[in-house]
Symmetry: D2
């Protein structure tokens, strides 16, 4: 049988998806040359990319209804305006705690309604996108999935905000092109998040690369926020790096905070206490004001 017999086929075959480029491909959708005005993403009433600095805070993992409720209460009192918490966790080892799954989302949603804060949580499976946006107001793509193209395409189809974290060793251009996958699908509510890169240093778990902030903001209209918790892996320098992030132009922060960091199931070494967060927020308010931005503290 010749090769042509093998190839002859009448059935419909599955194509690789190619997304339509914008009219001027030299100005991709993420670029300032495509859209000059700053994009402001609305997370259920909280703006990211406007004058106000948006601070997302919460535990690494949602562990119980009482844990997430208490943290929600305390981060709101500190001045944070969005509640973070992981329900489906990407873990390096298959034998580590993988999160509470949907049950965690239920606890997150309950705390959100009770305390009055919009929420963000991570998706790691393309099949969970619909599930997660039932419960959360913003969906996060983590560093390990920055180039998971089916997942990027899937969140490109929804009409809810997406927080895209930079890969562990992604260049700025690769980061922008990952966001391009989402925008090319029609979802323009994308927030970029610098979260630390692998580097030469072994002193910290990662090297938070704040250079990304002014570099990206020159090139893209999308909001850029910073994760100093994962970005450094070191709670004691999170306050200083949070101030620096705001000073160099970040539109927001996402910070791991817990009433008792050492009790966290995961990421204890990089989690600050909610008491520390309250002090950080006061400091951020001053720094924001110094550069013409704003952090609104609770009365």
């Amino acid at each position: 049988m010749s090769i042509h017999n093998h190839i002859a086929s009448t059935k419909t075959v599955r194509s690789a998806t190619i997304l339509t480029p914008p009219q001027k491909p030299e100005h991709p959708l993420t670029s300032r040359s495509y859209k000059a005005t700053q994009t402001v993403v609305d997370i259920n009433g909280v703006a990211v990319g406007g004058k106000d600095i948006a601070v997302m805070a919460g535990p690494c993992s949602i562990e119980s209804p009482d844990q997430i409720l208490r943290i929600a209460h305390e981060i709101k009192a500190a001045g944070a305006t969005i509640l973070r918490g992981g329900a489906f966790k990407p873990r390096t080892s298959p034998y580590d705690f993988q999160g509470l799954g949907e049950q965690g989302l239920i606890y997150l949603k309950a705390a959100s309604i009770e305390i009055g804060l919009p929420t963000i949580t991570e998706v790691i499976d393309v099949q969970d996108v619909e599930l997660i946006i039932e419960y959360a107001d913003c969906i996060q793509i983590g560093s390990r999935n920055m180039q998971n193209y089916p997942l990027l395409r899937e969140v490109g189809k929804i009409r809810k905000p997406v927080l895209l974290k930079r890969g562990f060793s992604a260049t700025y251009n690769e980061f922008l092109l990952a966001a391009e996958y989402i925008m090319a699908g029609g979802n323009d509510q994308v927030i970029l998040c610098e979260r630390g890169i692998r580097g030469i240093s072994t002193d910290l778990r990662f090297t938070l690369d704040l250079n990304a902030v002014p570099y990206l903001k020159e090139r893209t209209h999308l909001p850029v926020i910073v994760d100093p918790s994962h970005g450094t892996g070191t709670a004691s320098i999170v306050p200083a790096m949070s101030r620096a992030a705001v000073a160099c132009g970040a539109d927001g922060l996402i910070i791991e905070a817990h009433y008792s960091p050492t009790e966290s199931i995961s990421d204890a070494s990089q989690t600050i206490s909610t008491a520390t967060l309250a002090q950080v927020m006061k400091d951020l308010a001053k720094v924001a004001s110094a550069i013409g931005r704003k952090v609104t503290l609770p009365k």
Copy 2:
């Protein structure tokens, strides 16, 4: 409504998947302490991990039936024993060529049957796993997906060989734990592939890290192969690095080869000609023999 009302729910919720660890968790499934004997993976009649060095070769992308057929013919004549070719391509930009999709797989399968070579191709979408193993003999998880846990879990359920490439900046331990996700699902036919890391060098696209070969082989019973094409991004040093890979203990190689590299749609700069491949195979036969391994050249 109190938080407890929100949480009360009778419907079945979706859990995060937790895989069962081996009986002695300090000896994970990938470790030599769990299994002392070397694993030999059988790719439709070609052994990877035995005395013979297995060489996989072929184009970056399958472009047409004639292209893949001619390359299959020439790499077999050169001495390679497994045909590689991409049908679903993970591309940094959404506007770049994404591969021929299933049509490409049909061409690959046809060339495989015509020439008599088993095949390997990449999967990027968890939903394509079943489709791809209909056509190919070994399924590849690329670097971008080394920590795409749903995809690792999915190929953990099948009973076909899986080639797992190291992430751009993954540590050796993270690499082994990614393989652990596959093995914990019950699939023990896993081949590890070193393919270059992001490093300080800007002279080459990536830094092929051959240290991974002896380091991993000390620790794991799984076969370890090397991709000098992606690993260096530079065709002119692929022959030398192929020899080095065999000399330090690699069980095989995966090399991009084309009858006319400059005609390739993608990866032209790192693709060697099939004529060069023929010379590389002769050199590998000598190096393999020098260290007690074997490359069988066609008569």
Copy 3:
């Protein structure tokens, strides 16, 4: 002749220098456990490490008397308080401009006296230390020489301030131990300078690592300043990274500035204009104030 005949020798031999450790070697001289109070280094009347943020500015290379004089005038008007300028330049290629040598130092000293600013300049040769401190108020050890131990020992013998730049890929601990070489020689007027590391990014020439600032300041009593010019290689993000450096606790900055950056013989792409510097200083004054530090602007 036996080996013992060769070894027998009455002449005095040259020993390798071993420096005496502090009384408690677990608390090296650079550590906060050795000295709890913050060290303030006095550069001819300008304090580095106190409440005031010290800004050093000037050209990469001293090119002519008029160039350095005009720049000195303009950076002082902008609010900088220390004049930098290179006379002996470490250049990657032996055929590139190596600086004006002592003639450059003469121009630097003249501008210093005329305008009334203390100065800093780099030493690259152990034999030039005496020469340089005749002309300049602070002596700089560049990144390439962070582990040039004879040079560190030599500046350990003098009693003038030393600015020590972090090596391109030095860990924080190696950086502190390099400073230890200087302090063990008896010179406690050492300023540490973060200046960017080699990293995975190819978008910028270096990755300015601001994490070093809070990390080092937790551990050492020495002042820590930041070089955003070399640290990024990119003039457009120097203002943002300068603000960030102050926000996370840097005691000062060293910035390449020129009245006309494109006219610079070297480092044009990372040099900001003196006009930009004036704006940067105003912004720094606000950020400094927000965190309880101070930048005194000229009336």
Copy 4:
């Protein structure tokens, strides 16, 4: 007093040294376009860069006359042809053992004469160059000093072989330009040595970058050797990486070896035993033969 008074000076000033470029600056002295034939460096009768693979071996530090004598004897019996040993050691901490200094050189020379092996040892101080070449046949510039330009210039003036090690994060081009400093001074007996780079991996102390070997050999006529001991920091993989180095074209190796590695004052974890070295030499002989090179083993 005006600036012109300060500048006016009749005394002779010290210039920065500028080296004369070759007639065609686009073909620097290190390039194959400047000199097509392979350079063979003669270390007191042992050729580096010819058909024979040159293996340098010995302890990290010279510790006593008996230690270096016994090691010299054993590495010669194993087949190595050049004796290495450190007398002036560049140590990260000023309080660590810094080598025996000239006394160590005396022991090295004695062992050299007794056993009949040429020697190599490191220089770290520009003032020691004359001293060291009295005792040793080849002078080594270590990684920390790859861009110590006064030291490069100094060894450019002598007429003895120089081994130049790549900096921890030097690009290939920077490495070649460092060699250019030496050659521009008139010394064309330069050997390049790859010795591992700082990278993303924390599993090994350094990432031995064998890609440097074929890359450099394409571009330069200078011999290129490899240091798998410092390059990996891990004795157990030194044999495999030594074979790989030869397989990809290295002209030689420099290996830390000791009759009892755990007794070494420094670098114990990366030092192989002389017994292991003997086996490595036999394996290298086979690999060298496989690629048309040669290792001559003692009868």
